[in-house]
Symmetry: C3
Subunit: 352 residues, 3 copies
């Protein structure tokens, strides 16, 4: 596919500076470039590449003022990152693998498969499951009994959707992620062993949720574990039973949310964060990576850090002193010695 600067500028709502007829066939990173590619200048610190790149087209922000000559044709846009997203989709080959229903897929006769659905080799669809129009179920996926899958959903290889769970329209789930494993619930018995609590609830993913690879979302004990519309979860994330993740909240890799915790809308959670169970986190909360949130957050827009987590700026102030603790200790000890001396002198005086 060859696309001209003129076509791309129209597609991206941008303005051309240079040759509108130059053609490109794929995107490139600015430090790699290459003739026939389109690259972009995202952050100021990469500016020098703009003067060195061999890319044929360079996507830049409206504000960019070159300080040296640029050989590439420029396309100036309002928001470079939004333009890249559109661009990549244009060049993208998101659709992969076979279409139709593979001969080796195993479908229960009671499953309802919508129009234009593709099901890959070795996939298993259990009794009573429904799959909406245009959904792509990749190879080796498991769709359990009575699972409901919406329209335009993508399940990558090895995804397991356990019985009764519901996956909303246009959700995307990456390889080997598990939706609907039992929650971690056991009741200690008098003789010291644990009795399992049967989990009769399910997991509900609303529309446009995207979940990374090897992530786990546990089913509710009763009721549902819910991921609200547009939320994005990275790889290796753990969502406990009966938790709820608010709409358009993003959660980075390896973070864990314990059972029954409710995260608000538009939150931004760093990687390797932990949340205690049974707490409620206000909308727009931000949590720095590796923090441990032990208590509910009531004020929207709070920014947290540390284990246990508290206000980000206060954590940073405490941490600066933490690094000086040996010095602090020495200074305190010195003061004590001096005070002993002073006290001694004072005593001497008073005894005079």
């Amino acid at each position: 596919m060859q696309l001209s600067a003129k076509f791309l500028a129209e597609l991206l709502g941008g303005e051309i500076e240079g040759d509108p007829n130059v053609m490109v066939s794929k995107p490139s990173r600015i430090e790699e470039g290459g003739e026939g590619t389109i690259s972009f200048l995202g952050k100021d610190k990469y500016e020098h590449y703009a003067y060195e790149t061999s890319a044929s087209i360079l996507l830049v922000s409206k504000e960019f003022t070159p300080r040296k000559p640029v050989s590439a044709t420029l396309i100036r846009v309002e928001n470079v990152y939004q333009a890249i997203a559109v661009l990549l989709e244009k060049f993208g080959q998101a659709q992969e693998g076979s279409t139709g229903i593979a001969a080796s897929a195993v479908l229960d006769p009671t499953a309802e498969i919508g129009p234009l659905v593709s099901i890959g080799p070795g996939a298993v669809i259990e009794a009573g499951a429904t799959i909406g129009a245009g959904s792509r179920i990749a190879a080796q996926v498991f769709v359990g009994t009575n699972v409901k899958i919406g329209d335009g959903v993508v399940l990558y290889p090895g995804v397991r959707i356990m019985k009764d769970c519901e996956i909303g329209d246009r959700c995307v789930i990456h390889p080997n992620t598990v939706i609907g494993s039992d929650g971690f619930g056991f009741t200690p018995q008098n003789d010291g062993h644990y009795q399992k609590i049967i989990h009769v609830g399910n997991v509900i993913l609303e529309s446009d949720v995207e979940i990374g690879a090897n992530t786990t979302v546990d089913r509710a004990t009763m009721g549902a574990t819910i991921i609200r519309e547009g939320a994005k979860l990275d790889n290796l994330v753990q969502i406990g039973h009966n938790a709820e993740i608010g709409a358009h909240t993003v959660i980075a890799a390896q973070t864990g949310i314990a059972g029954s915790t409710k995260i608000g809308r538009h939150c931004r959670i760093g990687g390797q964060v932990g949340f205690a169970g049974h707490i409620t986190i206000a909308d727009g909360t931000q949590v720095q990576a590796q923090s441990g949130v032990a208590q509910s957050v009531k004020t929207p827009g709070t920014y947290l850090f540390g284990t246990p987590a508290f206000a980000y700026r206060e954590f940073i102030r405490s941490f600066i002193v933490f690094k000086k603790l040996p010095e602090l200790y020495r200074r305190l000890t010195q003061l004590e010695r001096a005070a002993d001396g002073t006290a001694g002198k004072n005593q001497d005086r008073s005894s005079q």
Copy 2:
């Protein structure tokens, strides 16, 4: 299935207060309730729901004294949580998916399959493996060469049991968990590259072990990595080679145990905890989430927090001061200035 309050009270060993003939068909959460459901009052802070719920039956503790009228029939029991476990099992549909051996399962002719075993579509059973009576091997599971699986075991879709490992009676393993991957052992060579240490050991799960989804248990270099009876591991947990987990110990999600470490019986380990290798942890040890345990614990019942972890209460005391460190720093600096002043004055005096 419709069950009466009378029947359920007998099942749970409880006492009825209200209409013994009211019927329910499923459990519900107290805040959701609904006619024809049975709900429960677990924690005191939810008490207000008892007066608002539309559930037909409410499970409460013997001690519960309503302060307002309750519309539901009450069943009073000794331990609400134990009763719920029994209740959920009664209503539960733990048995899911097809029975028998799926046509698309691939069984080596030398594998020994016990009576009443079900094996799902696409499952692979390698040479010399044995599977005990009544075990359920779900779709797409892998059971390696010479693996021994006991009676009544449940392996969910995508579980991989690698060669020579042993799974005890009534173990339950959730989707995509890996038992018997090689341990992380490499010997640095003089030229800077690493030589792999071949792992000839295995993993042994004793009876009644339950393991969550996407968890990994590495095989021993030699000998065995052992999970003792009744231990419960959550999702995304990592168990290193030659580690041993004591009986009835519970380990929350995303915790990692490094190689050759031995965890005692009846320990309770929070989420995202890390244990160094080659250490021994006493029975009944509790570890707060996100802690890093770097040394052996000798006293049973120790409670730890922090990285590196030390006594929980001491950590909390130190942490309280950590939050005040900027204030502490200011106060120390002020004292120093004052002392300088005093010292100055004293000096002035002594020079008089």
Copy 3:
């Protein structure tokens, strides 16, 4: 297989002390031993086992001087751990499972399969994929469109290699690991929802890379996420898009590397460590478990600890004082009271 002490001493380049004709059939741990086995003395603290073990042969270092009689035949070697690696390989049965191409494997006709390749039951090889000589693709593996797999590669059950990724010669990937899932990249839109950034890059594993179970390596947005030759990754590790891991670097379990971060050669990274995105880590850097590395490291051989991480020795010094913070606080308060007293006295005096 029975091997004599004489044969093994030659194999390992060691010297015999005792009966050169004693035969062994397998390795054992020193605390277990057993006649007909070969065991080894690795660390000094296990020395007492040398006098108790019933192993027939004992592998020890050249420097070992027994303080009591040892019943086993000794083989003295330069480096015990290197010798064990060779030994285990000799006794190892790394080759497992069926050979050839399983009837239930699904191969696209355009896939190119090299000589001596084995492909297990239920494996799926998509269009345009190539698999090099002698590679073993286990059961239930997914190899996506246009994936390139080198010679002598081992992919264990449930591994997913997504489209366009490249796996170098002799790489080993453990069960359920995902190579080439999309990176976590979304652009916030004005209306508050996130637009996905299509990932057109891939993942490249150079030769001799080993990756544990349930690990995830995300594909690049553009260009490649790269794991350089000889690097070793443990279980449940997360590698973000466009990250690069240097040659012969080892990364322990549950560590996460955020997007575009570049880790140097010969680094040693502990478990549960987190790296921020877009930073560069010098060659030979060591990071203590559970640390959070937020900034680039410029000096080779740096050793880090803490969140945010700083120099290991300085962290330890600060941490020692952290444990004494309550005491520090009391002492400071006491000094202040004394100073108030002194100040008072001084004031009294000055007012005299």
